[in-house]
């Protein structure tokens, strides 16, 4: 039973690392298209390599998630909250994989070279086509909004578990090491 009360340590590390990256990414994305200042240029320079880093980590995280089952939710949690948790977690996985891929494809469709750093360039994954660009660009925009709203819901739900219900759900993902069971330290 001890085994299943917390997430795998690597899962927790990935969760908090990616939380910082994804939240930064959402703000960078929203900010870079909302200014004509130099921030536009340097935020755009960060946006692309950060997006690819999130994509790679999301793949690693998905593999870990499929290998290690997360700890079960409290038995007394209402069904709708269980379903919401399940749906929002898979939605988060889907979005953190889809958004970087759509962003990458969108740049290819727009005819842009996809520069990660200096002259390090990613290969095209979509044909150069303005109509495809427009669809992908707007999809990127609305899915980013969906990711932001899902993140706010996820943050609120985490706080609800940690502050209101105090049911151990937030603790299961908390970055500190779980305390060793009391009996084994007795002695």
């Amino acid at each position: 039973m001890n085994k299943t009360t917390t997430f795998h340590p690597l899962a927790r590390l990935l969760h908090w690392t990616m939380a910082a990256m994804i939240v930064a990414m959402l703000f960078i994305g929203a900010g870079m298209v909302a200014t004509v200042s130099q921030k536009h240029t340097w935020l755009l320079t960060i946006h692309k390599p950060l997006g690819i880093a999130i994509l790679l980590l999301a793949i690693a995280r998905l593999a870990l998630r499929l290998r290690h089952r997360p700890p079960p939710l409290p038995a007394d949690l209402p069904l709708w909250q269980r379903l919401a948790a399940l749906a929002s977690h898979w939605l988060l996985y889907g979005l953190m994989l889809a958004l970087p891929l759509i962003g990458w494809a969108m740049l290819c469709a727009g005819g842009y070279p996809v520069l990660l750093a200096g002259t390090l360039r990613l290969p095209p994954i979509a044909p150069e086509n303005a109509l495809l660009f427009a669809w992908l660009r707007e999809t990127h925009h609305y899915l980013a909004w969906l990711l932001f709203l899902t993140f706010v819901a996820h943050l609120s739900a985490g706080l609800y578990h940690g502050l209101i219900r105090r049911d151990g759900v937030l603790a299961a993902m908390w970055p500190r090491r779980p305390r060793a069971p009391v009996p084994t330290t007795d002695g």
Binding site: A30, A34, V36, S37, Q38, G111, L131, L163, R166, G168
Partner: protein, 355 residues
């Protein structure tokens, strides 16, 4: 087990939860510009250009009237000691370009403004690109995107006359002395009869970066080899595209790429200030344009000539107009491609017409 040991009552804990969520949303709203109504966003800038030129779905929001061209650049290796960019080495680089006139109206008369523009995309063999948007004028009127926005606001047409209010324009120029160099040029400039006889200037400065990583501040220009410049014919609104077709029927049109180096103290980050005429320059090769297509069906239609798309060996300067051009062009590109794609919420683009 308790997650967070806080001696707060339940109401305070709900308030903390709600407060954190709301703060996150408000911060996002601020960064995204929705809660920052005074910030100059690309959308506000392009909205103003669109208002001035009228809404023409599928067209660029500025320099809306133009033609596609294609050809190549023949590098001569002279610029290679100053930049590692492959385009400067000896040899050919294919080019997709566009000539245009300023303004958001694709039906504007060619003789309405004395400025013509040349945009180029050099397609490097290795997938690298160099995009540049140049103008046939020596300097930009203003130094900052904010001043450009003010100029666009001052230049909005009056509903009664369809022309800007002269008093409002005069007030803008009086409040912006940095426009003096541009105004002195504009006073004697006449709309030319041809795209082919114009000298096109990068206006903004950039850095060439050599093999040692040393940066050289430069501006560049395309100097025409055709010297029969003449004022445009009166009473004809659409002579530029026809003139270009006629010239290309005779043979390719050529320009020399001249790169001018800044001297210490020259204004690298201010496009409103010219550099003295005696600055050292080199000729890096020849641009050859050998064909033209209508912009509605030509390959330039779907290219965003963002001047910050650069190959290794060329870097943008800190000129604030460069970032603003990149941000605003991206917004204009999204608007017109979304209209072409008939995305929900966009005005229907006229299809198959000259664009």
């Amino acid at each position: 087990m308790h997650d967070i040991r806080l001696s707060l009552d339940r109401a305070a804990r709900w308030t903390l939860l709600g407060g954190l969520a709301l703060t996150t949303v408000a911060a996002f709203g601020y960064v995204g510009g929705w809660l920052a109504p005074r910030r100059l966003t690309p959308q506000r800038l392009v909205d103003t250009l669109q208002h001035n030129g009228g809404l023409h779905p599928g067209y660029r929001r500025n320099h809306a009237k133009g033609v596609c061209v294609a050809g190549w650049f023949e590098g001569n290796g002279v610029a290679s000691p100053y930049s590692t960019a492959a385009v400067f080495a000896r040899g050919r680089t294919p080019v997709v370009g566009r000539f245009a006139i300023p303004g958001g109206n694709p039906y504007a008369p060619d003789g309405g403004v004395p400025i013509r523009s040349m945009a180029l995309r050099f397609n490097g063999m290795d997938g690298e690109q160099w995009r540049t948007g140049m103008n046939a004028m020596p300097v930009f009127p203003v130094s900052t995107p904010q001043a450009f926005y003010q100029q666009a606001l001052a230049g909005r047409p009056e509903p009664a006359t369809g022309k800007p209010d002269p008093a409002r324009l005069a007030a803008f120029f009086a409040a912006h002395p940095e426009t003096a160099a541009f105004r002195a040029w504009a006073k004697q400039a006449r709309p030319s009869a041809s795209y082919a006889t114009e000298r096109y200037n990068s206006i903004n400065a950039f850095y060439l970066v050599d093999g040692n990583g040393t940066r050289h501040a430069v501006r560049w220009a395309m100097l025409p080899l055709a010297h029969d410049a003449a004022p445009g014919p009166a009473g004809d609104h659409d002579y530029l595209a026809r003139d270009l077709q006629q010239r290309l029927a005779q043979g390719p049109q050529r320009w020399t790429l001249r790169i001018t180096f800044a001297a210490p103290g020259d204004a690298v980050d201010d496009a409103a200030q010219a550099w003295p005429a005696n600055r050292r320059s080199i000729d890096a090769g020849v641009l050859v344009i050998d064909r033209t297509q209508p912009q509605g069906s030509g390959p330039c239609r779907d290219i965003n000539y963002d001047p910050t798309v650069l190959p290794g060996g060329i870097e943008p300067s800190a000129d604030p107009l460069l970032a603003a051009r990149s941000a605003a062009y991206a917004d204009s590109f999204l608007r017109r491609t979304a209209e072409q794609a008939h995305l929900p919420g966009t005005a229907p683009a006229a299809t198959g017409t000259a664009r």
